[in-house]
Symmetry: C2
Subunit: 492 residues, 2 copies
């Protein structure tokens, strides 16, 4: 390239990278974000801005092609999305994040300190280490624990089960699964998150070898039956890679009896993995900490900061009871990264334990939010959302149309809305009604709740993931469901 071409090119690059332009765009972005936050908190617009995918795709394509400006693009994102900050959002387990966290995500992105090796993110590696230690202590883990930060609960469950597989089936990492189908199994909470069964498929064990542990009537692992199951599997010559317990379970938010499960696993010398992606945050609350009793006996624990610590996705802490086990997941050299002449102990090179090579500096938000607000905020967030689920449950029990299907331990409610006209109807009819009702409700943009299945039939589910959701929202939801139900019945 000649000098003139280079100069022109360089000038265009300098424009795109200009600090002054960034500053101007930054002002715009902050103002729009503050406005969005304010509007959302006051339910100024729809919760879910429902449109068919093709309409959204067409508009996103048009904005891409038409040289939109920064402000227009941000407004489009807010106008057409799911509005998690609206207190009428009561959907999946994705929180309305503490707003300041978004600023630290920007700082993280701009500085782009990718880790893998310590050199690439000396500060992000240090902050990750501090938050790993701090959260582990909050959880009551025993000194000597370790862990890594990774991109989501599903990937963390996979990583933990990979570790358990490599330990239970020595030589598998290098040589592959050698004994053929149906020897190695996982025994998981009967309603464990889908990523657990997927992990069995990914790891070469097969999803059919992810066996369900029997549950009691509260959707908790039945400990006596687990013990029997492990005995029986041993008698059949099976190797149990791991037992997977839930704290709490995805569908209903129920916490497994961890102490008793740990005792059974210890007796059978089986790895205990606890998927506490959602529920580990109870460790911050004097009222709810007891649900986690025994978690320190687990061999591995998953905790999503992007659930009940109200951080943006994705930021998952995977703990190992024994720090050294984190190196059993992935055991390999890469000379250009983890070289033999490393400047320091490999324990600071986070990439040795993560599926990711380049990784986002995902711990800054939590670290900063904790530093500014103290850990009281995390206790408050758990207490207000878990408490509100109990308040909602009380209202449901008193309301003639709500059928509450779980006794909430966390902030999850499973229920059906059954107007008088449908009382006594066939379960399939009532189930189908829930699907239709939810469709109307969410397309209206008034509230956002999600589907569930209970005892084979459709139901509704909500998770209080916005700490600003209050009793007023219950009243509004109740009225909206009644109105939509009446319209549906009138149309039939």
């Amino acid at each position: 390239m000649n000098q003139d071409d280079y100069n022109a090119l360089r000038a265009r690059i300098e424009r795109a990278y200009a600090p002054a332009t960034f500053d101007k765009h930054g002002q715009t972005a902050v103002a729009l974000m503050a406005e969005f936050l304010n509007g959302s908190q006051h339910s100024a617009n729809a919760v879910l801005n429902w449109r068919a995918p093709t309409s959204n795709i067409e508009e996103a394509q048009a904005l891409l092609n038409d040289g939109a400006d920064v402000g227009e693009l941000i407004q489009a994102i807010f106008a057409h999305g799911q509005t998690i900050h609206d207190p009428r959002y009561m959907g999946h387990q994705v929180p309305a994040p503490v707003p300041m966290s978004a600023l630290f995500e920007a700082v993280s992105s701009l500085s782009n300190q990718g880790m893998t090796v310590y050199e690439m993110g000396p500060w992000s590696s240090a902050v990750e280490r501090v938050m790993m230690q701090t959260l582990g202590e909050q959880l009551g883990l025993t000194p000597g624990f370790g862990g890594i930060l990774t991109s989501g609960g599903s990937i963390a469950n996979l990583t933990a089960l990979l570790t358990a597989r490599n330990i239970a089936l020595q030589g598998t990492w290098a040589n592959g699964i050698s004994e053929g189908r149906d020897k190695a199994v996982i025994v998981a909470h009967g309603e464990s998150h889908y990523s657990v069964e997927r992990a069995a498929g990914i790891l070469g064990m097969g999803t059919h070898n992810c066996l369900k542990a029997a549950l009691d009537e509260h959707s908790k692992i039945d400990v006596a039956k687990l013990d029997e199951q492990l005995h029986s599997l041993r008698a059949q010559g099976k190797t149990v890679i791991a037992v997977v317990a839930a704290a709490c379970s995805t569908r209903t938010g129920s916490y497994d009896p961890l102490r008793a499960i740990a005792r059974v696993c210890k007796a059978h010398q089986v790895w205990l993995h606890v998927d506490a992606a959602h529920g580990a945050a109870a460790a911050f609350s004097d009222d709810y900490r007891h649900y986690l009793e025994g978690i320190e006996e687990a061999d591995s624990v998953v905790w999503d900061a992007h659930k009940m610590l109200f951080m943006p996705a994705l930021s998952t802490y995977l703990f190992y009871r024994k720090s050294a086990n984190q190196y059993q997941a992935l055991n390999q050299s890469a000379s250009y990264l983890f070289d033999a002449n490393a400047m320091l102990s490999e324990q600071y090179n986070t990439g040795l334990g993560t599926l990711e090579c380049t990784k986002r500096a995902a711990a800054f938000s939590l670290w900063a939010t904790w530093a500014v607000h103290g850990k009281q905020l995390f206790a408050d967030l758990v207490n207000i959302t878990y408490g509100m689920a109990r308040t909602f449950a009380r209202h449901m029990l008193q309301h003639p149309h709500f059928q509450l299907l779980n006794e909430p331990e966390a902030n999850v409610l499973v229920f059906r809305y059954v107007p008088s006209a449908l009382r006594g109807a066939d379960a399939g009819v009532i189930g189908a009604f829930q699907v239709g009702l939810r469709k109307r409700l969410i397309e209206s943009g008034e509230f956002y709740i999600v589907p569930a299945v209970d005892r084979g039939h459709q139901a509704l589910r909500m998770v209080i993931m916005n700490p600003l959701t209050s009793e007023a929202e219950f009243a509004g939801l109740s009225a909206a469901l009644q109105r939509h139900a009446e319209q549906m019945l009138a149309q039939n």
Copy 2:
């Protein structure tokens, strides 16, 4: 909880979520980010702020405990990290991101539209779809392609190879790998990214069954030898899950001859996976597009936007030549998400193809940067960095102390610095000298380059990942290496 307790709790939550506070913190953050950008671009401070991990951990811990404010915390992140925006950064394949992208990461985080199912992120799903389509077309893929956005190149390689495994070994997903060790193999570029070998370990095939394809003297797959290898493996009764080609290779940035490799794979009916995490961006450049010829014949292709599209980590596009293959990776139902009564075609539920359940809305940055700057910016970024590597190579060839070890196709240079006093010394001695030299250099904070191994001995490596890196930086690096080399020699 009684009403007074609730009110106090609610008041604390409202303070943490107050739009006005967010606005104030946002102003601070934007000003500090602009200042950091400006300082970095002018090399105002160290590139790598080198300190031992324990010092950083202690300070991060102290800031957490001492109730630091937002400004202090941001300054700590900038002061103690790796300064990718400094043009003297020439390290691993992590770019100085286009600054405006950081603002869209903040917008993404604040609105936290997690996808998995379309409802949870109607706009983020649409934008992902648009960028998938747009990048695929830019790459020259044939209509009918599809794909997903995921958390990094390593996870994308794993996902693609999982798909290939499930297709080659029917029934493996459900039943596990049944045939025992040493039957199923992967044949990968002899210097493929470490995630490829790891994938064999994770997928239950065993890392020993990740075989190396022979390379020619330019670190490219030798096509004739690949053909022989595939013949020989078939004769041995092996099932080749996939051939993995590099575009470009991690260590040297060399592009494999994709058209010829695709022809061989087709003849053997073997899945071709192209790891184009780094090099796919050449598709934007009239000068370098030819390196990718034949990529449209690959069955799967990985492209990291957080490499040569200069976006923040993590944002990886995984393409499948046949759109339907994306559903072969993970095949499972989760009634509370992907229910039979889904409101729309499952093709819009991105979680069906990703290892993640909740996922970050990671396409906004690229979409917005493209909309504002047009695709010319991406051509410019490739042209200036690939071009600068050639300029650096020319200078090295003219310099008596530099030994250039590759002929750069991308923006990667592998070299040794050998002062006159060491000429003719033992290769091991020269290798050890590279390690010592790099340690001094990077601890000085003057430049950041990385280690490599070439023909069994230590070498140095740089990747031009900052588009503002210019010939002035080569002169500075050269002078710094000379100074440190002289000091090392004087101390011996």
